[in-house]
C-alpha cells in the first residue's frame, strides 16, 4: 500500500488545476469572440437575427450546462466527427460563455444614451464607424466589471467538464480521492483551489464595480 502525503495530493491537484485554467481561458476568449459577433449582428437591427440570437441566449440560459455538455459530446459524434471530452468541453463552454457575454454586453450597449447614436449618425458616420468610434468605447467602460465577474462563472462551469471525462481539477480530485481513501481532505483541497482561483477575480470585479459607480454616489 502506497502512502500519500498531503503534498502528494496537493501537487497532483495543482497539476490538474492547470487544465481548469486553460479550459477557462479558452472558453472565455472563444466565448468573448463569438459573443462579440452575435452582439454586432444584433445591433444591426435585423429582426430575424435579433429573434434568433434572443432564442439562442434563452436556450443557453434556460438549460443546464451539464445537458449542453452531454448534447455537444454526443451530438458532434452524430456528424461522424471523432469527439474527445476535450473538444466537447471547449465547444460547449465557448457557446455557453458566448450566450451570457452577448447578453451582458447588449445591456451595456443599451446603457449608452440614444443621443450618442443619433449624434454620430448626424455626423454621417456609418454603422461600423458609429460602433467602433462612439458606442463601443463608452459601452466598454460599463462592460468591464460584469465581464470580469462572469469569468468566475466560467471557471466554476469548467468543473462540469469532469462529468464527460475531461481530467481537470474536479475529475482529478475524484480520482485522487479514490486511491487515497481520503475524500474529505481531497475535496476540501479541491474546493480551496477553486476558491483561490475565483476569489481574487471576484474581489477585482467588485473593486471595478465600485470604481465605476464612484461618481454617482
Amino acid at each position: 500500500m502506497v502512502e500519500f502525503t498531503l503534498w502528494d495530493i496537493l501537487r497532483n491537484l495543482l497539476l490538474a488545476a492547470r487544465w481548469t485554467v486553460v479550459l477557462s481561458l479558452i472558453a472565455f476568449a472563444g466565448g468573448g469572440a463569438v459573443g462579440l459577433v452575435l452582439l454586432v449582428l444584433r445591433l444591426t437591427g435585423n429582426r430575424v437575427a435579433d429573434a434568433a440570437i434572443g432564442a439562442y441566449v434563452q436556450l443557453f440560459q434556460g438549460t443546464p450546462l451539464l445537458m449542453q455538455l452531454f448534447l455537444l459530446y454526443f451530438g458532434i459524434a452524430l456528424f461522424g466527427v471523432e469527439t474527445s471530452p476535450w473538444m466537447a468541453a471547449c465547444v460547449a463552454l465557448i457557446l455557453y460563455a458566448s450566450a451570457y457575454l452577448t447578453e451582458i454586453w447588449r445591456g451595456c450597449v443599451a446603457a449608452v444614451p440614444r443621443g450618442q447614436w443619433e449624434a454620430s449618425a448626424s455626423l454621417a458616420l456609418g454603422f461600423g464607424q458609429q460602433l467602433a468610434h462612439v458606442v463601443l468605447p463608452q459601452a466598454l467602460r460599463i462592460a468591464v466589471p460584469p465581464t470580469v465577474g462572469f469569468l468566475v462563472q466560467v471557471v466554476k462551469g469548467t468543473a462540469l467538464a469532469s462529468v464527460i471525462g475531461f481530467v481537470e481539477l474536479t475529475k482529478a480530485g475524484g480520482m485522487i480521492a479514490n486511491v487515497t481513501y481520503e475524500p474529505l481532505l481531497v475535496y476540501g483541497c479541491v474546493a480551496l483551489i477553486y476558491f483561490a482561483l475565483c476569489f481574487p477575480i471576484s474581489l477585482y470585479a467588485g473593486s471595478l464595480e465600485r470604481k465605476l459607480h464612484v461618481g454617482r454616489r
Binding site: P64, L65, L78, V152, L160, V163, G173, Y187, A191
Partner: protein
C-alpha cells in the same frame, strides 16, 4: 454522412422523464424554502447581527460563491461520510442545494434590506416595536419585494444546477435521461428531450414564482 434521429424509443420511456422532472421540481421546491430561509437569516446576520455572526456569514457567502456546485455536492456526498456523516443521495442533494442557494440568497436579500429608507426604521422604532418586529414586519417584506426577480433567477439557476445531482445517483431529470440512453443507446435524443423539459421547467418556475411572490410573500 446522414444523421438519423429517432425520438420514439426515448418518447416511449416518458414515465421516466416525467418522474425525473417531478424529482427535479421537488428538490427545487425544498431547496427554495430552506435556502431562502438560510439567506434571510444570514442577510440579517450580515446587516444587523453581532460581529461574531457577521464574519462567519461573510465567510460562508464568499466560500460558496467562489466554488463550483459540483464540488460542494461531492464534498457533502463523498467527503462527509469520512467524518462519520452518512447521507442518502436525496439528503445530500437537498443539503448541497440549500447551502448553495443560501449563500446567493444572502447577498440578494442583503441588497434589498440595505435599500430600506432609514426613516421607515426610525418610524417603526418610535412605535416601540422591538428590533425583531421591525425586521420581520417593516424591513423584510418590502426588501423581498425589491429583490424578488433576482431571487427568482437564482432559484432557476439552482434548479438547472441540480442536473449535477444525477452524478450521485439522485434520480432526477438528468439521471432519467442517462438511464434511458443506457437502455436504448439513443443518447443524443434522450438528452435533447431532457434539455427541452428543463427549458419548460425553467419557464414554469419563473411564472409560478412571479405569481407566488405577489400572492403570498409581499402582497400586491
Amino acid at each position: 454522412m446522414r444523421v438519423a434521429l429517432d425520438f420514439w424509443p426515448v418518447l416511449a420511456q416518458w414515465p421516466l422523464l416525467l418522474e425525473g422532472a417531478a424529482w427535479t421540481l421537488g428538490l427545487t421546491a425544498v431547496a427554495t424554502l430552506l435556502g431562502s430561509s438560510v439567506g434571510v437569516a444570514c442577510a440579517w446576520a450580515r446587516v444587523s447581527g453581532p460581529w461574531a455572526l457577521r464574519v462567519p456569514a461573510a465567510a460562508y457567502v464568499e466560500l460558496i460563491r467562489n466554488t463550483p456546485f459540483i464540488v460542494q455536492l461531492f464534498f457533502v456526498f463523498f467527503g462527509l461520510p469520512a467524518a462519520g456523516i452518512r447521507l442518502t443521495p436525496l439528503t445530500a442533494s437537498i443539503l448541497a442545494m440549500t447551502i448553495n442557494l443560501g449563500a446567493y440568497a444572502t447577498e440578494i436579500v442583503r441588497a434589498g434590506i440595505q435599500a430600506t429608507p432609514r426613516g421607515q426604521i426610525e418610524a417603526a422604532e418610535s412605535l416601540a416595536l422591538t428590533r425583531l418586529q421591525v425586521f420581520v414586519h417593516i424591513v423584510l417584506p418590502p426588501a423581498l419585494k425589491r429583490v424578488w426577480p433576482a431571487l427568482t433567477s437564482q432559484i432557476i439557476i439552482v434548479m438547472l444546477g441540480s442536473a449535477v445531482c444525477g452524478q450521485i445517483s439522485m434520480e432526477e431529470l438528468s439521471h432519467a435521461a442517462n438511464l434511458i440512453q443506457s437502455r436504448n443507446f439513443r443518447a443524443f435524443e434522450a438528452y435533447i428531450l431532457a434539455t427541452l423539459v428543463y427549458l419548460g421547467l425553467a419557464i414554469l418556475v419563473r411564472r409560478v414564482l412571479h405569481w407566488a411572490g405577489q400572492r403570498f410573500v409581499f402582497g400586491s
